[in-house]
C-alpha cells in the first residue's frame, strides 16, 4: 500500500497490465448476471457495430478498483469513490494498461483525502475508460 504521508500531486499509482480473454468475459457474465449477447455471443456480436464481442465495461472498471485497492487497501473499500466514463470497448485479446496518478491531497486532523486520475488504455493507447477516483484515509 502507498504511504499516505509521501503522496503529492503527480505521484503515480502502481500500474498494471491485464489481458482481456473471452473466457474471462464469459465467466464475468456468469458471476455478474450480465448475459448481454454483445459480450458472449460471437455470432451475434459480429452483426453489430462492434464486429465482435466486447468486454463488459464494469469488468474493465474492476481493474481500476483493483489498482485503488492495492494502493489504499481497506480505506478504498470503505471510503472510496469513482467517477468514470466508458470511451471505447475492450476486446478479447486486448492488453489493458491500468494506471493513475495522484492529483490532490488534502490533510485534516483525523483523515486525508487523496484524489487521483485513473485510466485504462489498450495497446493502441486508446482510452477505454478514464475518470477520477478519491479515497478518504484515516490518519493512524
Amino acid at each position: 500500500m502507498l504511504e499516505i504521508a509521501t503522496l503529492a500531486p503527480g505521484t503515480p499509482l502502481p500500474a498494471m497490465v491485464k489481458e482481456v480473454r473471452q473466457a474471462d468475459i464469459n465467466l464475468y457474465a456468469e458471476a455478474s448476471g450480465d448475459h448481454n449477447p454483445i459480450h458472449i455471443d460471437e455470432e451475434f456480436a459480429r452483426g453489430t457495430e462492434f464486429g465482435g464481442t466486447i468486454a463488459h465495461g464494469m469488468l474493465v472498471m474492476a481493474y481500476i478498483s483493483e489498482l485503488m485497492t492495492i494502493a489504499f487497501g481497506q480505506s478504498w473499500l470503505e471510503g472510496g469513490s469513482l467517477d468514470i466514463r466508458f470511451r471505447v470497448p475492450a476486446r478479447p485479446g486486448d492488453r489493458v494498461r491500468v494506471s493513475g496518478e495522484v492529483t490532490a491531497v488534502s490533510r485534516e486532523d483525523t483523515f486525508s483525502v487523496v484524489k487521483c486520475r485513473v485510466d485504462c488504455r489498450n495497446e493502441r493507447d486508446e482510452i477505454i475508460i478514464n475518470g477520477d477516483a478519491a479515497v478518504r484515509v484515516a490518519v493512524a
Binding site: 498494471m16 491485464k18 489481458e19 474471462d24 468475459i25 465467466l27 464475468y28 456468469e30 458471476a31 455478474s32 448476471g33 450480465d34 463488459h56 465495461g57 464494469m58 469488468l59 472498471m61 474492476a62 481493474y63 478498483s65 483493483e66 485497492t69 492495492i70 487497501g73 481497506q74 478504498w76 473499500l77 470503505e78 471510503g79 472510496g80 469513490s81 469513482l82 467517477d83 468514470i84 466514463r85 466508458f86
Partner: protein, 137 residues
C-alpha cells in the same frame, strides 16, 4: 416467462422493485477469476469486491425491465461506504433520476444503492445510459 417492460415506459422518479441477492462465495470466486484480481485482498473471504456489488446491483434492476438493443453504458459513479462479506444478503435499490433526449437518443440516469443485512448503506452510485429511440417522456 413474463415479458419485461421497456425502461423507456417509465418516468423520472420511477423506483425499481428492491431485489435481494445472496453473495455466494463460489460466485465471488468466479468474479475474482474473471477480473483476474491480483490484489489478494479478498482471498481471506472478509470482504466482497465493491465492484461486484455494483455489477450485481445494476443487473438486479433489470430483472423486470429491459434496455433496448443499442443501449450504451456511458458513465458510472460509485461510492463505497462499508464492506459486506461473502454469504451476506444484500438488497439492491434503484430509481430513474433523470431522463432526457439528446438527438435521437435518450439519456437515462439511474441512481443505485446497496444495503447490508443490518440495513446500512454499503454502496451508492449513478449510472448513465444512452438508449436509442425517440420516445422520451
Amino acid at each position: 416467462m413474463t415479458e419485461k417492460a421497456d425502461i423507456l415506459e417509465f418516468d423520472e422518479g420511477y423506483e425499481f422493485p428492491p431485489v435481494n441477492y445472496d453473495l455466494k462465495p463460489e460466485v465471488m470466486r468466479d468474479y475474482l477469476a474473471a477480473v483476474s484480481d491480483g490484489s489478494g485482498f479478498f482471498a481471506a473471504g472478509e470482504a466482497v469486491p465493491p465492484t461486484m456489488l455494483a455489477a450485481r446491483a445494476m443487473i438486479s434492476l433489470f430483472e423486470h425491465v429491459s434496455l433496448p438493443d443499442g443501449s450504451i453504458h456511458l458513465q458510472q459513479e460509485l461510492r463505497f461506504l462499508k464492506t459486506v462479506k461473502p454469504g451476506d444478503t444484500i438488497q439492491c435499490r434503484g430509481r430513474i433520476s433523470r431522463k432526457r433526449m439528446r438527438g435521437r437518443f435518450n439519456l437515462l440516469t439511474v441512481e443505485l444503492a446497496v444495503d447490508a443485512p443490518d440495513g446500512d448503506v454499503v454502496m451508492t452510485g449513478k449510472t448513465i445510459f444512452s438508449l436509442p429511440g425517440n420516445t422520451a417522456a
